[in-house]
Amino acid sequence: MKTSVKKLVTAVSTSVALMAAGNAAAEIQIGIAGPMTGPVAQYGDMQFSGARMAIEQINANGGVMGEQLVAVEYDDVCDPKQAVTVANSMVNDGVQFVIGHLCSSSTQPASDIYEDEGILMVTPASTSPDITERGYELVFRTIGLDSMQGPVAANYLASLNPERVAIVHDKQQYGEGIATAVRDTLEAKGVEIAMFEGITAGDKDFSSLVTKMKQADVDFVYYGGYHPELGLILRQAGQAGLDARFMGPEGVGNKDINTIAGEAAEGLLVTLPPSFDQKAENQALVKAFQDKGEDPSGPFVLTSYAAVQLVVDGIKQAESTDPFEVAQALRSGSFETPIGTVQYDEAGDLQSFEFVVYEWHSDGSKTPVN
């Protein structure tokens, strides 16, 4: 209760600060939209902490074109309906640059509004290919696509010579998308897919599903979705004595899966963006996060940092804060960021992005396997 009071006080004081800052003359608003509450709020924490750090550091270095950046934060709960509301408030608040959203199913509907209203958007976490497939001019990302991540997962999975694979997804854009990508690659490699099935996000009872996987005698399970459901599937599978290895995308890779699944999380395979915080050139930045008491190792911390930095670099290069000119500059340039050298293709996707397979441990740590 004490912390929540503290949070409230900080929230009030930040909003007062924001209002005060609103009166200052020269500033550029950076909207950050992601889940602050709800079942996947921990990914939002990563996103906000990365973006805030970038804004702080850029402001400390004099801002951009003599103007300071101001963070305006919005909670979309990773709910597509809420994301649309958030996008409309961005329009009302006159925000021109958005870092977000996080979940693909939120990013998709919000990006329609941003594109129509001339707002530049960089998502640090949404991997669904559909987002950049519509020929939008103002949509970018600092993360790879499921069409890259799926094959990485499937190739690793195939190299383990599984006999019968079950693929389960949560019927959401992200989960089903990546599960389909994995299935297609596995089928092309001649691996037997014993079942391909959806579950309902938010469900708690997976005993029937686990029984079915036992009956189908699968030795490998790929799950497309987020950690709250996979954690429960792992745990219930462990209790029912299902002897299979599990794998999931970056949406399952955070420490909360350990509090849900406990021992059953040991040996889980996860595809994640590479650990940017381990790179030698990022150590100064990592230290800055640690000095603030924040953990830079989450998959979306540095991608969010890079997203802010790219917006700023784009503004510098275009010498304008017009989102269309900034987008033009982003497409034509090459930028040094904590996630490496960034070059965009026409669609707004990174020209290259690598996913790495990690083995997850029951203490929340991970080790790379390939």
Binding site: M1, S4, T37, G38, P39, A41, Q42, K171, E197, G198, I199, T200, G202, D203, K204, D205, S207, S208, L209, T211, K212, K214, Q215, D217, H227, P228, G231, L232, R235, Q236, Q239, A240, G241, D256, N258, T259, I260, A261, G262
Partner: protein, 307 residues
């Protein structure tokens, strides 16, 4: 043989989840039976029960107490006390002041209460999923090594037995005790019961308290069975339990039990033989069918218009 084991496994899965639906459904059905309103905040009472149980278990663990029966008993008692007082308070604060008005008003008040409680837990406990320790582990397995093995966990057995005890106790209470008799009288005719000297306000409060206590039992059991809780999980469970109550005939206690079991088995059989994607389609489809062909539910009495 293997197919038969698979069938029984899905049946056990369904009965387990169904019996907890039934425990929650009692709260809906009793309240409806007595004051004719649907208490949409009941799912939240169940969720608060689960949180209280978890807090009690964690508290005992920090004190170094690990004797399982004691831990379970303390968790159960704490959850029942907190949930019951919550149920009582919700009725006093949100329903009693608007009782007797148009039917929609208490309904809206209930939905508001549900949103309030959900957000209160969000604020107080955080919105993340919290792991719930599996205190009861292990179980029996049937079937030969190497092929499909049916498992019946001690946890599932605990759920069956607890539900059975609660339901029997409740039936005895309603049919034998003074308050139970008063409950039945109030449900038949509130005004008349009042005239005959029954303190109807007390009886209505008692209904909320009993319903909430049973929901707390379900909260503890399901928390341990599934292994994680979050502030939103009362909503879905409440919706399912409400469906179970309507299925069995809202206002009827045996109906709630039957409805819960049917719903649980229908869900697990759909997941088991069709696909998990159709689970909710089948359970809510079943509800629509029942409402179309037997609007009073399986065991509900046809409503006679009182003149």
């Amino acid at each position: 043989m293997q197919d038969l084991l698979y069938f029984f496994q899905q049946l056990i899965n369904g009965l387990t989840i169904g019996s907890t639906y039934a425990l929650i459904a009692i709260g809906y059905t009793m309240v409806y039976g007595i004051i004719g309103m649907i208490n949409f905040a009941h799912g939240e009472i169940y969720m608060i029960g689960a949180y209280t149980a978890l807090i009690a278990i964690t508290g005992l663990a920090t004190l170094g107490i690990a004797w399982l029966p004691l831990v379970l008993l303390v968790a159960l008692v704490c959850a029942m006390i907190v949930s019951s007082s919550m149920g009582w308070a919700v009725e006093r604060v949100a329903y009693r002041p608007v009782r007797g008005r148009h039917r929609l008003i208490p309904l809206i008040s209930a939905i508001g209460m549900s949103i309030f409680l959900q957000n209160y837990v969000h604020l107080a406990q955080g919105s993340r999923n919290i792991g719930f320790p599996s205190l009861i582990q292990g179980g029996f397995t049937f079937g030969s090594e190497g092929s499909f093995q049916m498992s019946l966990s001690y946890m599932q057995i605990t759920i069956f037995i607890t539900t059975l005890i609660c339901m029997t106790a409740l039936s005895l209470f309603i049919s034998r005790s003074r308050i139970g008799r008063a409950c039945r009288a109030v449900s038949q005719d509130l005004g008349m019961a009042n005239l005959l000297g029954i303190d109807t306000n007390r009886i209505i409060s008692a209904t909320f308290v009993i319903g909430a206590a049973l929901a707390a039992v379900a909260g503890l059991l399901l928390g341990m069975y599934y292994g994680s809780i979050d502030p939103l999980f009362g909503f879905i469970a409440g919706l399912k339990a409400f469906t179970a109550a309507v299925l069995g005939g809202i206002g009827s206690i045996p109906g709630a039990m039957l409805g819960g079991l049917i719903l649980g088995v229908a869900e697990s059989m759909t997941s088991g033989y069709l696909s998990g994607e159709y689970k909710d389609v089948v359970s809510f489809g079943l509800l629509i069918l029942i409402l179309l062909f037997k609007p009073t539910g399986l065991l509900g009495k046809p409503e006679v218009e009182k003149i």
